[in-house]
Point group: C2
Amino acid sequence: MKCSRCKSLAQVALPSHHAGFCPDCFNLFFSRQVERAIRHFRMFTHKDKVLVALSGGKDSLALFRELHMQGYDVTGLHIDLSIPNSSSHSRAVVEQFCEGLGAPLRVVNMADEGLPISEVKRKINRPVCSVCGKVKRYYFNKVALDEGFTALCTGHNLDDEVGRLFSNTLRWDVSYLSDQSPALPAEGGFAPKYRPLYRLSEFETAAYCFLNGIEHSTAICPYSAGASFPVRKELLNTLEENSPGSKLQFYEGFLKTAKPLFEAAEERDGYAVSPCTGCGYPTSAGLCNICRMKEQVAAED
Amino acid sequence: MKCSRCKSLAQVALPSHHAGFCPDCFNLFFSRQVERAIRHFRMFTHKDKVLVALSGGKDSLALFRELHMQGYDVTGLHIDLSIPNSSSHSRAVVEQFCEGLGAPLRVVNMADEGLPISEVKRKINRPVCSVCGKVKRYYFNKVALDEGFTALCTGHNLDDEVGRLFSNTLRWDVSYLSDQSPALPAEGGFAPKYRPLYRLSEFETAAYCFLNGIEHSTAICPYSAGASFPVRKELLNTLEENSPGSKLQFYEGFLKTAKPLFEAAEERDGYAVSPCTGCGYPTSAGLCNICRMKEQVAAED
């Protein structure tokens, strides 16, 4: 197979784009998909102060490198979750990566915040994955607002977005469907949030990391066993194999056609957020989830 | 496993209903699901003259038998498609079935109508499955209107409905999504259309046929090879296996939450139907598909 752009030997085949690329042209393809996402949703410009959440996985590191290469003013943010046999490894990967790139990094340690996930898991009677997601989103937002960042980016790729859309659609959850977008504006105490990799698949970010020598963490979270998400991802992969391009079509069709309808319904029937009585960050309850969790974790056994 | 109702030996396991039934209680379960569908959508009463489309497959025969047993005034309608090595078999199955039941049957022969599907396939440069669907829907509607039936029923089961919903959702096709329902009222030249089996899965109608000795046609249409529908049905089956009940939840959630939003959008932006200039039955074009096809088939080679 020849590179669709320069006709040398292709190394990455992309059936969903009816294309194949050599390493250099694949990097160009990758950059253009990111540029297109940023431009289409007017995410940010070179004047913005951009905070990029870095888990240490391939997606966040690929995004950080790409935005850095494109000359954006980026700072990494790593949340050290204090999960035994996992968090210290991820943190070391992120620190080494940022050092190599010569880019600034902020680390927030959940143990220092009174919310080590190992303790949270022990004390809170809920699936830990959703709790962990809440904790991370809270601190992403807090750091962005407290430290004057004008854009907050996460490395969610097309497969993440489509997997989430699929789950929300199976439940026809209007509140979640109205809110799913690669670009959420600043409002009600939330920093503006962006997902510049939404046009790129998991395979494409993995190829980008491989071709650019990005050493990312591949450790599986010791708490993630039994999550139902992988089964649905598998289904969507079968669909994509059977009809290449269907993931991006499904997602873009949603954004263009269906999301406005769900948004209008949610504006009519949805409920508002207001500042948490504890920490002041937005919540739909009086005292936010994070403040309640901190109380539970701090309480005597 | 014991029957969830009478505690004798269960023969049919239904994980999506957290139940298992012996043959008698399964029949009762089946009847109640049909009753519930008819009642919830106020489909028809015992005063209505009900036309039931009979392909000869398990779903349509199961529906016909069930409505007949429940005392509804039902007449079968079979469309003989004139497909070699297939149609004559289906027709014989339907004729024998109605005779056994002592129920009236109308047969419309596509060869007599100038539209044998074998000829249509030869002359029309489109996937034949969609053409065949159009032809059948046209004659279902025509016979219902011409002969004074007040309800038109088809044997679409839950898997059919969910498969169609899934495909429409993957494309976010507002026009189709606004129109998908187990009950479509009479309007704009269309007879009222109902799908009383929408709460019952393919497995459940198959079990009903088996337990009640219904001999249905199992012949696969010689023209159906390569249809993409089976792949998606397979995906949905995996989803259901992984989380029993998710098909019915997906479909009912759609009807309750999302369909009204798509309907409102379609009313705002959709286009109207009017009588065909040829046959007078409703179409969104001037001359309807069926009249155009008849012209093409009648034309010299």
